[in-house]
Amino acid sequence: MIFFWAFVIGGLICVIGQIMFDVFKLSPGHTLSILVVSGAILDGLGLYEPLIDFAGAGATVPITSFGNSLVHGAMQEAEKHGIIGVITGMFEVTSSGISAAIIFGFIGALIFKPKG
């Protein structure tokens, strides 16, 4: 069941991205930035977490979850340390995507050549 919904919800988020590409003619950079911001706002409204519960990877794999987990990290620290935690806790939860991208990016640069 979760697999089915992961497919559907994940696919639908991608369709939103595709519509931004094709209908509004946004560049990938703009599209992804907008999606990340909407993920953060949805989490601020408390709507993203239920979506993750429902669709699993369908909601955690799209880039929108990046905004969501940034807010989560910030909120977690804010509960402990107040306002200052908003800044210090930002990467508490979501470091994995960025660190994996950096590490594998560098390894990729070491072993691969662009194919053209």
Binding site: F21, D22, K25, P28, K113, P114, K115, G116
Partner: protein
């Protein structure tokens, strides 16, 4: 000799005595593999970077142009060339290898005809004996320069074009056997406010039409004077738009006489979207394919209109429109002239 406002008539008939063309793997699979002197099956040409590979191709094209004639490297008066990459460094390094005095040009994809026009003008005015006029481009290097890293999975719209990997070079001389350069019209910047860098054909079409119309008017010839009007890299969309614009301006050119290098160089089933582009596109197709047809007697008079979109990644990001240009050079078969 200047006629009209911006057309040169070359009464001394500069001759293209030889040409050299180099292509990459994608071109080898294309529509006109016979047009190339050498086809590489490796995008890197065993160099350390795509830019060096492009430099290598430029050098090879010049070497083939010299080899196909009996001219020695030392006899070449000038090397006129340019490309798309940052401050045209691949061309400049190639110029270092060639060793001739060097004019570096930037006219994006119109560089090929701009350099040919300038070469013809210098020869015509007795300013030089032999001039190497060429240009090069490399698909991956251009992608990196203008768009995204080559391995980035961005989706290109159907209006996007595929930069040709290759280099084309013509050796222009005062006398000799070969097609003659009879006239040239230098283009003006035409800016229709188009901003989409993935639709260059649509942006460049008005520039091509402007140059073609000016050329016909100033040279006082009818469109039927030419066997073929060859545009540089308008591709599908640009070609259709240009054709419609010409018809709208009462220049009734039959569709089959209006060809585009960007559509000639690749097969229809290759994944090039709207068609080919890049400085090398008009250079290799004109020098390798159409001049060959001319030598075989299948063509008499052609007008090559190389179109260029003179934007940079910076200007696109700053939301500036794409300034476009087109340079036209007429080439006529001339075995009777020595």
């Amino acid at each position: 000799m200047l006629t009209g406002h911006r057309t040169w008539i070359f009464e001394n008939n500069p001759v293209i005595i030889s040409t050299g063309t180099v292509g990459g793997p994608f071109e080898a699979n294309g529509n006109i593999p016979h047009a190339f002197n050498i086809l590489h099956d490796d995008m890197w040409l065993e160099q350390a970077s795509f830019e060096k590979a492009q430099q290598m191709m430029m050098e090879e094209a010049c070497q083939y142009a010299l080899k196909n004639s009996s001219i020695q490297k030392e006899q070449v008066s000038f090397f006129i060339s340019g490309d798309l990459i940052n401050q045209i460094t691949p061309t400049s390094f190639a110029a270092k290898t060639i060793g001739s005095p060097y004019f570096g040009l930037f006219s994006a994809c119109a560089t090929s005809m701009e350099s040919l026009a300038l070469a013809a003008f210098m020869i015509n005015a007795n300013g030089a004996d032999y001039i190497l006029s060429g240009t090069s481009s490399h698909n991956a290097a251009a992608e990196k320069q203008f768009r995204y890293p080559t391995e980035y999975g961005g989706q290109k719209p159907p209006t996007a074009q595929w930069t040709v990997t290759g280099a084309g070079c013509a050796l222009v001389a005062k006398t000799g056997q070969g097609p003659r350069i009879t006239s040239a019209t230098i283009g003006k910047i035409v800016d229709m406010g188009m901003t989409d860098p993935f639709n260059m054909g649509g942006a460049m079409a008005p520039a091509a039409v402007d140059t073609i119309m000016t050329h016909l008017k100033e040279r006082k010839v009818d469109i039927s004077y030419y066997d073929l009007i060859i545009t540089g890299d308008l591709a599908h969309i640009g070609r259709e738009v240009a054709l419609d614009l010409l018809h709208k301006n009462d220049i009734n050119i039959p569709e089959e006489k209006f060809v585009d290098c960007g559509l000639t160089v690749y097969r229809e089933d290759q994944p090039v979207l709207a068609g080919g582009s890049g400085p090398a596109c008009s250079a290799v197709v004109t020098y390798g394919h159409f001049l060959d047809l001319m030598k075989k007697g299948k063509l008499e008079k052609i007008l090559v209109v190389a179109t260029g979109a003179l934007h940079s990644p910076l200007s696109v990001n700053q939301k500036d429109p794409i300034p476009c240009i087109a340079h036209a050079v007429s080439i006529e078969a001339g075995s009777d002239v020595t």
